[in-house]
Every structure is written in C-alpha cells, then in structure tokens.
Amino acid sequence: MTTTYNAMELMICVASRELEDGSTLAVGTGAPCAAAMLAQRLNSPNLSILFEAGSVSPQLPEMPISVGDSRASHKAVMVSTMGAIMETCQRGYVDYTFLGGAQIDMYGNLNSTFIGGTHQKPKVRFPGSGGANDFGSFCWKMMVLTVQDARRFVEKCEFITTPGWLSGGNSRYEAGLPEGTGPYKVFTNMAVMDFEPESRRMRIISINPGYSVKDVQDNCGFELLKAPKITETLPPTEIELKILREEVDPHRYVIGR
C-alpha cells in the first residue's frame, strides 16, 4: 500500500525526526511548531520547547496561533519573560531553532524584512526579525523548513535579517557570533540540505521520494553542492501521518496549506 501525503506533511515529518528526546528547541508558529508537536508526541516526549513570549517547556494541546497565546504555555513548567527566553539561548542552553523567510541564500542567511525598493520605501514589507535574528545568532543548530522555489532560494539575500554562515568560511565567527553555532539543515518539499563544512555552502544530502537532483537544482537560484553520497529521504510513516493529522493539526491549519 502506498501512503499518500502532501509536501507540507512530508517536510514536517522529516524535520521532526531531528528533534531528539531531551533536547531544547526555540520555535515560532506554523510548520516548525507542528514538527515540534509531532516529535513530542512520537519519539521525544521530553523535548523542551521554548517560546519567545516567555513560555518554558509547554505540552501543546493544539496548534498555537501565536507563540504568546495560552496554547503556547499550556502545561508549561514556567511562564517567564522574553529576556529570560532569549538569554537562555544566548547562554548556550538551546540546541535547535527552526526558522523561515522570504529569501534564503547559499550560506543559509535569511531575509524576512523586505523585498524590492529601498529599506525606507520597500516594495514589499515583511515583519522583520521578530525573534529570528536572536534565535539564529544564539541557538546551536539553526534549521530551515521551506518550499523549494528559485524565487526563495536566491544567490544573495536582498537583506540579511538573520545570520546564516554570512559570506561562508569563517565569516560567521569573525563577525563575533557565538562559536559553534550556525545553520545545520534545510528541509524542503524536494530535498534535505546541509552546509559543506569548509565553504559553508548549501549542499544536497538527501532527495525526497519522487524528485531528482535536477529537480532540486532547477528550483534553486544558485548552484547547490552535492554530498559525496546522496541518500533518499525516508517518506512519512503511517504513524507519523496519523499523529500529525489527528492530534497535531486536525483543523489542517498548516498541513492544509
């Protein structure tokens, strides 16, 4: 029997497998939150989620609409302040973050501020950093969950809202960002990418079922490196899909997109 699933379900399931039990994660709303909830319900019951509004280690009853709503602090061990959460990240206690943006470049830098025009008179204005620059600066491993699209995967972000590997090599640490932090993996509907350890350029490590390396490259605005051995991504399992659909997002807020 073939299990059917959509692109969003695939990305969430694959990304959720990265979140091992006992780790800490700083996260926003939407698909990353769904990945965290799935992990918490399946393999990582002791995954500690931190939300920037102040919530520490909640057990999410349903998808929060805002990281500051009562769902986001449901059965938390503590409610605190934004400073306390961000400083927990700055101090080195937070393993993972998931981020997104309107643009991502070959070094994993993210733009969520504006596209077109100038900063003072933009063509399209987006929210700006929010907590993204903070999480991307402080958390040990930054991950991105987004749709593979050449307009989104650009050679150079028009505006670097959140730091990735900046201009590659050692530039991130030369800028003063904490040692050992940085972009780790990118999950799209077509593939999983990491960053080559020397140049820090994005490279394909795994291809999702039904896609080829060419498909990924054709939907990317810059040349992707390829890992020595590219594997095939394990598709969502029946149990992952069941929990995702029935418990994590029954109203299909995220997986229905």
Binding site: G28, T29, G30, F51, E52, A53, G54, S55, P61, M63, P64, I65, S66, V67, G68, D69, S70, A72, S73, V79, S80, T81, M82, G83, M86, Q90, N109, T113, G117, H119, Q120, K121, P122, K123, V124, R125, F126, P127, G128, S129, G130, G131, A132, N133, D134, S137, F138, F159, I160, T161, T162, P163, L166, S171, R172, A175, G176, L177, P178, Y253
Partner: protein, 331 residues
C-alpha cells in the same frame, strides 16, 4: 572604548540615564487613587509627537481598547515601539498614528498572515524605520529599567538588521569578543493591559510577561488598563503576586475585555473570526474605511465595540475556548 561599527538607523529616543533620572525625580510617588476613564487617560498622558510603547505580546494581553481610543482622539506623528506588534500595529497603521517606528516584529499577525493595511502604510515611505530584533528591544527596555545607558548582547552581528539599527559594535574589554551595544529605550508613555490592579496602580499579571515588567519601569508615564479593579487589601494580602508597584503608574482604567479581540490568559481566547474580518476588510481601502468607522470611530468606547461584535454571548464563548472547556469530556 573603540566603536568598531555603527548601525545607520536613527535613534528615536534619548538613552541618557541622567535625563531619565531627572524626570523620575519629579514624578509623584503619592499613593493616590488614579482610576479614570480610558478616554481621560489617553487625553491626559498621551500627546501627539511623543514616543509610546504597548505591553503584551502580539495579540495577547495587548491594550487594544487603548489603541482604539488613540484613533478616536486622532493621535498623530508619534514614535512607536514595534515590539511583537501585530493586531495593535494593524490598528495604529489604520489611524496613521505614528511616523517613526523601532521595528522588532511589525506588519504580520503570526500564523494569521500579514496585514494589508499595515503593509500599505509601511510601503508608502512616510514612516521612518529603525530595525531591531525582539530581543534587542527587550534588552533596550531592560537597560532603561536598570537605569544604565546600554546593554551589550551577541545578536545582530554580521547582518543588515544591524546595519539598519542604531546599535554599535565594540570589542569587549575583558574577552576581546565583539558585542552589539543596545541603547536604553525610555518611552514617553507605556500602555499595559493587565489582569488586575488596585486604584493606585499595584498590578497583577498572569501568564507570559514578555517585557512588560521592564516596560513599566522604563516608561516615563504608564497607563494601566485592567480586566478588573481589586482592593489594595487584596494586593497586600499576597504581595508575591504583584508584577509592578503603584509609583510607576499614572492612570488606572478598568476596561473589561480590554484585550479583545486578542487573547487574555486565563480569561478569554482571541476572536479569530473577527480578526479574519479585519484582514479581509483591509484588502479594499473603501470597505476598510467603513469598517473602521463602524468598529472604532462610531463607538463611544470599547464596550460598544464589543456589543457590535457579539457582546457578552461572544465573550462567554471566548472564555470557553480559552479554558478548552469545549473539549472537556469529549471521547
């Protein structure tokens, strides 16, 4: 100390702690009854051209009633602290209340999408923007609350967010590491919606606090809107519950459901249907004009706005949703 690099963004407020101390020295410490109507509080303590900040996070425990009142009183040319500002930002853009903004998070409503009205206003070029991050603004309020001119942090480094900020990068005199200095932010006025307050302004907040403890301490004037007034005796019965004390506060306004249509922890959930109505109405500027007229300008107060959108029956539904009561006992 050498400055390695400066952001080119404008600093909209004065970070000098001695200027702030001089203001605080003259501020009354008297424990007097400060309760008044919201209209009176906005009229008395919020002035055109000043810089203001709002408490709450996104559409959670946000002083929405106060935002509506600022539109009704046609506040203009203000500076605004866009710290996780979502539905409040949408309202303030509709009234073109501010012309300069410190941007941590603006324009969006988290998982609900982006506000067409806020986008239009921010794309006119009429608003001066200095970029920050959510933590940056928390740190700036913390510095002001501490009474020091800046706080060093390790975010912003290497990014255009820094370039468009008013932060400065220095080398740490102890470790040689690069640090981003965040200037203290002292708003002229801070408006904070809370669960409970006595008439003097001793305040209780439940749930996430965001930066509101620091906002109350950093702001030169503080307006508190509360779900309900409680007695001073109740405050003194359990002072561990007090979030900030009376001498910071200038006005106390009892505004039940003052965070509607946003959430208020342990009280009511957000009215998602009505928030969608906002986003839908904004798509067409003419439709939106009528929408604002009906929901803000034609209302004498927040109570009338609530009555137009479902009244007490709706409030009880939102209470049920907040407490997940609709899920109790379901098989």
């Amino acid at each position: 100390m050498d400055i390695i690099r400066k952001g080119r963004g404008e600093l909209f407020t004065d970070p000098d702690p001695d200027h702030a101390r001089a203001f605080f020295q003259k501020k009354s410490r008297k424990m007097v009854n400060k309760s008044m109507t919201l209209a009176k509080a906005i009229e008395t303590f919020v002035h055109d051209g000043e810089y203001f900040a709002l408490g709450g996070f996104g559409a959670n425990r946000t002083p929405i009633a106060a935002c509506h009142e600022m539109l009704r009183q046609r506040r203009k040319n203000m500076g605004f602290c866009g710290h996780t500002s979502t539905h409040d930002f949408e309202i303030l853009c509709a009234g073109e209340v501010f012309d300069r903004v410190d941007a941590g998070y603006i324009v969006g409503l988290e998982a609900r999408g982006l506000s067409p009205c806020a986008r239009r206003y921010m794309q006119t070029g009429k608003v001066k923007v200095t970029e920050w991050t959510n933590y940056s603004i928390s740190a700036r309020l913390r510095a002001a609350a501490m009474g020091v001119p800046f706080i060093p942090t390790r975010n912003l480094l290497g990014t255009d967010t820094f370039e468009c900020s008013a932060a400065k990068i220095i080398e740490c005199p102890y470790t040689g590491k690069k640090l981003a200095l965040h200037p203290a932010l002292y708003p002229d006025v801070g408006i904070i919606h809370v669960h409970e307050s006595d008439v003097y302004g001793n305040v209780r907040v439940r749930g996430i606090l965001k930066s509101d403890n620091d906002l109350a301490r950093a702001s030169k004037r503080v307006i508190v809107t509360c779900e309900r007034l409680i007695t001073n005796e109740e405050i003194r019965r359990d002072p561990t519950e007090t979030t900030f004390p009376y001498f910071l506060v200038d006005a106390v306004c009892e505004v039940p459901y003052g965070g509607y249509p946003g959430t208020m922890a342990y009280e009511y959930f957000s009215d998602e249907e009505h928030l969608r109505e906002w986003l839908k109405a904004e798509e067409d500027p003419d439709v939106f004009k009528d929408f604002l007229q009906r929901n803000i300008y034609d209302c004498k107060d927040h109570h009338e706005y609530i009555n137009k959108n479902g009244g007490m029956e709706k409030m009880l539904q939102l209470r049920t949703i907040e407490h997940l009561l609709h899920k109790e006992g379901k098989r």
